[in-house]
Subunit: 190 residues, 2 copies
Amino acid sequence: MTETTTLAELALRRPSRADARRNYDSLIGAARNSFAELGTEAPLEEIARRADVGIATLYRNFPTREALIESVYLEEVLAVCNAAGEVAHLEPWEALLAWLRRVVTYVGAKRVLVEGLNRDSNTFKACRLGLYEAGAPLLERAQAAKLVRPDVAIDDVIRLVAGIAGIGSTTEEQRDRILAIALDGLKRAA
Amino acid sequence: MTETTTLAELALRRPSRADARRNYDSLIGAARNSFAELGTEAPLEEIARRADVGIATLYRNFPTREALIESVYLEEVLAVCNAAGEVAHLEPWEALLAWLRRVVTYVGAKRVLVEGLNRDSNTFKACRLGLYEAGAPLLERAQAAKLVRPDVAIDDVIRLVAGIAGIGSTTEEQRDRILAIALDGLKRAA
DNA sequence: CATATAAGTGGAGGGTTCCTCCGTTTAGCG
DNA sequence: CGCTAAACGGAGGAACCCTCCACTTATATG
């Protein structure tokens, strides 16, 4: 389970001492707000200030800005992975569709974060793998039911969907229309 | 013609005095190199230095970093627009396909620039309109030949393709495969 | 409980980049 | 040739980055 690895990584990086852990959590919270409000270029000193923590504490927990962005990002990804379980009761195609829409919503909202982080980092890779593992059963089920062309893999699908979700300056409605086009391509027999 | 508007805008912003125009061009060149080499966060003072120009001159021509990025970006977009004319001699579907591949190549290569610029800026909007105008005839021709579903507009298509092109950390090969899926959705009858 | 100690903390400060202001220079016109 | 408006360069204050180190505190142990 890659989620386990990911979760373990997060847990491992969380300090063991009580006061340190409190500061760590406070920093993550302050960072989430600051990034949402000011973008990923938000001054780190501002984040430390909001977290009521010295700047050095921020740097000790998150040596680089990217490390901080990643940690905020990680939580969001886990939520999407969990959503895969929540749609399991639906029909194969509906389940896949519902989850992919969830991915779109999520990536759309968090694009700011995604753009700010290093795509080659371990955490980012782990997140991607986590998404693959969460989505793979849904895809395979739909393929087994002959509803989705058999020549695509889950990473193709997620990248396709995530790419569309990441399109800027568009309406909810247009995004849905574009997504529908792409998903039509998915349904088509090979 | 939106390209004309765009071009006119660029021309308008170009200084009229000979020495000023020389500096302006030198700055654009230096910026292109610096962005390619150091990313869009390249120090503006470094760009000014490379252009052999005072920092104030840079700021006078481009009040913000974004304005500078936009100006570099503009040139690239014009090249893609022109490419639409170069494929006109092909069969309808082939022409559309060829041009969309060109868009993908271009967006992929210049993602660094695209990410650095403000998607709500006038210049960016003008570029988008320019791309629409360049691509629309190709799409319409393919639709008239019943090769593309009639319920899509050029902005849908370009956003779809551009979204895929912007996907990070992937191979050329996977990108092509994903693009093929999406374009299959395009071909399908409504 | 006392206390040793390892872990954690805050903020001063040196370095870099940003961006404005203003005194000086120069292109282009009459 | 000389005038003037346009353009120029760079000094310098402010914001931010990140490291270093002297001080504080949680927790394990006797």
